[in-house]
């Protein structure tokens, strides 16, 4: 029986028979019920939780509330634009504009240009390499050409906004979204990404017998059994391969994908949906 001190407070909790008779049970239950009610509200995912989930291959949308201001460096094609933007952003509490000599600490670099050119990308590459930690970029310019998209993609986390239409609210939102791991890209870039993805699956991975995680069917078979706790000899017997074949398969995965050991390989396979 529940001790007097912990009378169930919610109707649902009341309808549950409390077998344990402990205050802890009731607290847990009401927390669960409140959480369920809160499911319809915006989910708040602290950055560490989000990163941990990202490790598992789970893409968790984060909310931008209650975090330290984003450190932003402003790079512009001309001084008037640069100073104007920096002055405005200084009025926004979510953003901290860094001085020129501290730009290597930037989390997000705002790049504002008239025309997106090869020089733009060179500048961005230099900034990315010279920073302490590789920053994200919000590139504000127009008419991103499709053949420039690979460059954008290879520079890391880069959002692209249209200079013609973006206002400051959108810029700030893009910076915050980038910090939270969300990209904004123009339609042609999104189509390019989607088309590349399909092409890689069909023309590269499939013809070479690789799955989406970059492993062959045999490697996946072996890793699946490793994940079940079997050792090399048992796997060899089950799959009717020699032990050497099994070892080679494991080694191939580890070396090709730059993994450290079998446990890492199994984790990688699970995180990427291969097993």
């Amino acid at each position: 029986m529940c001790p007097r001190a912990c009378q169930p407070t919610t109707a649902a909790a009341r309808s549950v028979r409390c077998n344990w008779g402990s205050t802890r049970f009731i607290r847990v239950l009401s927390t669960v019920l409140t959480m369920n009610a809160a499911r319809t509200l915006v989910r708040v995912a602290p950055a560490q939780h989000r990163r941990a989930m990202a490790d598992l291959g789970v893409v968790v949308p984060a909310s931008s509330t209650a975090q330290a201001p984003v450190q932003v460096a402003v790079i512009a094609g001309d001084p008037i634009t640069g100073q104007g933007v920096a002055t405005y952003l200084a009025t926004r509490p979510e953003i901290l504009v860094l001085e020129a000599d501290r730009q290597q600490h930037a989390q997000v670099v705002l790049v504002i240009v008239d025309v997106i050119s090869e020089e733009t990308f060179r500048t961005m590459r230099v900034l990315a390499d010279s920073a302490d930690e590789k920053p994200g970029f919000v590139l504000i310019g127009d008419d991103l050409r499709e053949n420039q998209v690979p460059r954008v993609v290879s520079l890391g986390m880069v959002s692209v906004l249209s200079r013609r239409t973006a206002d400051f609210d959108q810029v700030v939102q893009a910076v915050l979204n980038l910090r939270d791991g969300r990209l904004e890209l123009p339609g042609n870039a999104v189509s390019w990404l989607a088309e590349r993805l399909r092409n890689i699956q069909r023309k590269v991975l499939e013809p070479n017998g690789l799955c989406a995680a970059g492993m062959t069917e045999r490697e996946v078979e072996v890793l699946a059994m490793l994940a079940d706790g079997l050792d090399t000899a048992e796997i060899a017997k089950r799959l009717n391969y020699s032990e050497r074949t099994v070892k080679n398969a494991i080694y191939a995965v580890i070396s090709r994908l730059n993994l450290r050991n079998r446990a890492h390989a199994v984790a990688y396979a699970i995180r990427n949906g291969a097993i």
Binding site: V59, V60, P150, S159, A194, R196, I200, G273, A274
Partner: protein
């Protein structure tokens, strides 16, 4: 609602998934529903054939045309017509499905069709709270009706990278995050398809991009391939072609024989269906590798 011809217990869980998926999960084949009847590839008893590969297999010989566009045209989108957009609604929550159909049916620019008319619809809406392998299987099924079939919009959260990859690979035309999704977003997305804009949430884009980056370094580089589909050797040769060098000059510079250079070029042309060296150079520049 005009859905008198739908069997009362129709549920998304019964929707056809790929045979291989069902087998991989070790489940017994599910009874056929009317949507499976449209597919026409289930056997007479209504059982999906069982086989064992680990990934859902694509129907062989059928190249799904991509809605995402090729070199000339970006996202296909809907035809720009003035008549209402025909939509079919799927959900694993029957109440939700009814409500969505009713709400959208009221809107003059949208016409809601029963699920039996899926191939004639222009847009398919899939609304779920939790995206599972089943959901992705449904999306793959709907998109396999292309090119005449509907464009698919998912209202849900794509949390797992392998779901993102499969959905994009199948040709999903739009994603609306579940939290905070309201019908105005849905309508905007449907109308956006008309204008040819592809809607994907920022985190899905980030996931796609990081997968491309890691594929590039892990799966492509070891094989000498690049994202553009050109081999590294081919890029070397084409780069020199773009400088105006002749076959012999290229062979000298790269230390290959002339025959090798000719073979490389010919291989590129035939594999990528290019007509001549000029087009190969243009292709390389447009793909961003030069």
């Amino acid at each position: 609602m005009s859905d008198g011809n739908r069997p009362p217990q129709r549920h998304m869980a019964d929707a056809p998934r790929t045979a291989d998926e069902a087998a991989a999960k070790g489940e017994t084949p599910r009874p056929m529903t009317e949507t499976a009847a449209i597919a026409g590839d289930r056997d007479a008893a209504g059982n999906t054939p069982v086989s064992a590969p680990h990934r859902p297999a694509r129907p062989s010989g059928v190249e799904h045309p991509s809605p995402y566009g090729s070199d000339e045209v970006s996202f296909r989108g809907l035809d720009r017509e003035s008549r209402p957009v025909s939509v079919v609604v799927f959900s694993d929550d029957f109440l939700l499905e009814q409500g969505a159909s009713a709400y959208l049916g009221v809107h003059p620019e949208v016409e809601v069709l029963p699920s039996g008319m899926l191939p004639e619809a222009q847009v398919a809406l899939v609304i779920v709270d939790v995206v599972t392998d089943e959901t992705i299987g449904l999306i793959e099924y709907i998109t396999s009706l292309a090119p005449a079939g509907p464009l698919t919009i998912l209202i849900g959260d794509l949390l797992y990278r392998h779901h993102v990859l499969r959905a994009i690979d199948a040709g999903l035309a739009g994603v609306i995050p579940r939290r905070g999704a309201a019908f105005e977003h849905v309508l905007a997305a449907i109308m956006g398809l008309r204008k040819g804009s592809l809607r994907l949430p920022g985190e899905v884009l980030a996931s796609m991009k990081s997968w491309l980056n890691s594929m590039e370094s892990q799966a492509l580089e070891p094989l000498g391939l690049t994202l553009s589909g050109l081999h590294k050797r081919e890029i070397e040769v084409i780069r020199l072609l773009a400088e105006g060098l002749s076959t012999r000059e290229i062979a000298e510079q790269l230390n290959y024989s002339e025959r090798t250079v000719k073979n490389i070029i010919h291989g590129t042309l035939s594999r990528l269906n290019l007509r001549n060296r000029v087009q190969a150079v243009a292709f390389a520049i447009r793909s961003g590798v030069l």
